[in-house]
């Protein structure tokens, strides 16, 4: 059964729904926000006023829509995405996707059994610098990647309406910024085609359990006999270098975390900033392009849920400390 993905329901009316999804979807030609929903009726009213869509219960929202955007706190992603799929919607789930690879697989089973598509909102994949960096690595010009250092830090000021970023075990820096960062690294390396093996050597965080606000980790990620040493640094306390550095046999690639068009190459004979034209160079542009691809079913394959399984596996291992 084909559904009209341009008829969209926004499930969850927090900050990301108001600031990003509502604005982004409204700007897309042919796309209509047909319903919004939130347990907090005040928040639902705010987003309803901003979008012109009625605030309705979840069950009604998913019957009106062809695409359900799940923009609720992470703890609810599995149940709401599952229910929306069962109701016949395609689903775009905000990151972090779900906390375990088992939950991810279960959702994929539901999606497959219902003939529906399930996407995850990792819009940084649209950035020109990341896409260009991936193409460079694929070209083999730098040789085989050996190790990756991924660093993202800045003073945290996202005002989540529900406060989940400080209370939910999946709301800390690991699952919040970390899910983006790890996904960027996996995408860059081409490790987004399926499951990986994860061996965690070291984890340090500012709190005994999640949610944490600072974390460093060293791990080895393996896929198809390719082993990569991955070093992660995440912080909500202060600025880090905010880059991904890939050490390869013949040189080093540095990719910015921030949206942009350029990467830096370092080799034995010098260094070069290289710019790419294809892709988005702003956060808003990346976010909207992700929505455009999904709502128009144009180039959205790389946003399908199964492309994020490696990220889920790494988050699961680091989150549980197992």
């Amino acid at each position: 059964m084909i559904v009209d993905r341009q008829q969209v329901a926004i499930i969850g009316c927090g900050a990301v729904a108001e600031d990003m999804y509502a604005r982004g979807l409204k700007g897309l030609p042919g796309v209509s926000i047909v319903a919004v929903c939130d347990l907090d009726t005040e928040r639902a009213a705010v987003v309803s006023a901003a979008t012109g869509a009625p605030a309705v219960p979840f069950e009604e929202a998913v019957t009106r829509a062809g695409l359900a955007v799940i923009a609720t706190p992470p703890a609810t992603h599995f149940s709401l995405a599952s229910a929306a799929l069962e109701a016949g919607c395609d689903v775009l789930c905000e990151k972090p996707f779900v906390p375990t690879s088992e939950a991810a697989r279960k959702l994929e089973v539901v999606a497959t059994s219902r003939g529906r598509a399930l996407y995850v909102g990792h819009f940084r994949r649209m950035y020109a610098s990341l896409r260009g960096g991936r193409d460079l690595l694929r070209s083999g010009v730098l040789g085989a990647p050996k190790s990756v250092t991924a660093l993202e830090g800045g003073r945290f000021n996202w005002q989540a309406k529900s406060g989940y970023t400080h209370t939910d075990p999946h709301g800390g820096v690991l699952f919040d910024a970390g899910s983006h960062l790890i996904d960027m690294a996996m995408f860059l390396l081409g490790f987004d085609s399926g499951p990986v093996a994860v061996s965690v050597n070291e984890v340090e965080r500012d709190a005994p359990d999640e949610p944490s606000h600072a974390l460093t980790a060293r791990l080895v990620v393996t896929q198809d006999d390719r082993d990569i040493d991955l070093r992660l640094g995440l912080s909500r306390f202060g600025l880090l270098a905010n880059l991904i550095r890939v050490e390869c046999d013949r040189g080093t690639l540095e990719v910015p975390i921030a949206p942009g068009s350029s990467v830096r190459l370092r080799g034995p004979d010098g260094t070069l900033a290289m710019s790419f034209e294809a892709g988005e160079t702003t956060l808003g542009g990346g976010f909207i392009e992700q929505l455009r691809r999904i709502t128009s079913a144009d180039g959205c394959e790389e946003l399908l849920a199964h492309r994020f399984i490696a990220t889920v596996q790494i988050l699961e291992r680091l989150g549980t400390g197992e």
Binding site: D19, R155, D206, F237, L243, R266, M274, G284
Partner: protein, 356 residues
């Protein structure tokens, strides 16, 4: 022991200032949103919920680092009045308020005359307008016997996102760091000097009652090239060629920019991002009924949040300024950090956070 409240204590300057004041012997309390509490918990500084500023009595000194922010800052007059109310609730009437403002009250390119006196409100970029308005609100309604308004130069130092981090990212990824030459005055204040100066004002300077103005850019006489060349060498990169772009800073240059736009969307974007026209758009949005205002603000893209391209031009405009922000500080204060010390601290930070 002086009791000091710091509004906006969870920010970059705020956390460093709280630590400095505590080290200098003050009893410091941060006034912040509870969701930022972990940022002060980490450095062992007590905090108050900004929505309940009376919860811990009144303070001898109130330092305000906060300013309107958020996605819908077009409503900054309400936010500024909220800040004034907060400061009034925290400060003893006989006490002392130190309010931090910005050199940008003299224009992003420092194009207005620099005076150590009130600056008249004017239509300008949202950031400038809101800073000017808050200065003038405090002057018109002094919340304490003594009010020090400290206009800050470009805050530079380890971990400064606006300048140190921004320059490092630009250099590393080949983005322009200056519009024509790097000879313009950097107009910087090192964050360690900044916290030292505010601590000095709060704890040592025996100023008289009334309003005093301070201009802080103790390392501002150095050209940008001083910092950029060192950072580029440290990162083992070469600065990208000059960009040549600049933000239109006069009504006529803004008009020319609008005239060059093609199509209604482009014109709307120009109106929304313009230095003077955005001010008019904000005024219109504020007086419209909420629903109509909401529609307009969505249509024009936020009525106050400049597009990334505009931010780029603004950065280059500030870097390209050939006008020095002349320091004006209390004569009893000596900056603890020299230019060389400032650079060495930044270089160490670059290494520590993974740039090398």
């Amino acid at each position: 022991m002086a009791r000091i409240a710091v509004i906006g204590a969870a920010g970059y300057v705020g956390r460093l200032l709280c630590s400095r004041l505590r080290d200098d012997g003050a009893d410091v309390v941060g006034v912040i949103r509870p969701t930022s509490g972990f940022l002060l918990d980490q450095i062992g500084v007590r905090w108050l919920d900004a929505s309940d500023p009376r919860a811990d009595g009144r303070f001898d000194v109130v330092v305000n680092l906060a300013y309107p922010s958020g996605p819908f800052v077009y409503g900054y007059p309400d936010q500024n009045r909220g800040l004034l109310t907060q400061i009034e609730a925290l400060a003893k009437p006989t006490g002392h308020v130190v309010h931090t403002s910005t050199q940008a009250v003299f224009g992003m390119a420092m194009e207005y005359p620099q005076i150590t006196a009130p600056v008249s409100p004017r239509r300008d970029l949202l950031y400038v307008e809101s800073k000017l308005e808050l200065e003038n609100l405090l002057i018109a309604h002094p919340p304490a016997a003594r009010l020090d308004i400290v206009r800050l130069g470009n805050v530079w130092g380890p971990g400064s996102a606006a300048w140190t981090g921004e320059l490092a990212q630009r250099l590393l990824f080949g983005r322009p760091v200056y519009p024509a030459t790097a000879d313009g005055f950097s107009n910087v204040t090192d964050v360690a000097n900044l916290t030292s100066y505010i601590s000095y004002l709060a704890l040592e300077d025996q100023g008289e009652s009334g309003v005093r103005f301070h201009h802080l850019a103790e390392l501002g006489g150095l050209p940008w090239a001083y910092w950029i060349d060192r950072m580029a060498a440290h990162l083992e990169v070469t600065a990208a060629p000059p960009a040549g772009a600049a933000y239109p800073l006069t009504p006529s240059s803004e008009l020319r920019s609008i005239m060059r736009s093609h199509g209604p969307r482009a014109v709307a974007r120009q109106l929304n991002d313009g230095r003077f026209t955005s001010s008019v758009v904000r005024s219109v949005v504020r007086v419209l009924p909420e629903r109509a205002g909401s529609k307009l603000r969505n249509r024009v893209g936020g009525a106050g949040q400049p597009a990334q391209a505009i931010e780029e031009d603004l950065f280059l405009t500030v870097v390209g300024s050939g006008i020095r922000f002349e320091p004006h500080v209390s004569p009893g204060w000596t900056p603890p950090v020299t230019e060389e010390g400032s650079w060495l601290a930044v270089a160490a930070w670059l290494d520590e956070v993974g740039y090398r």
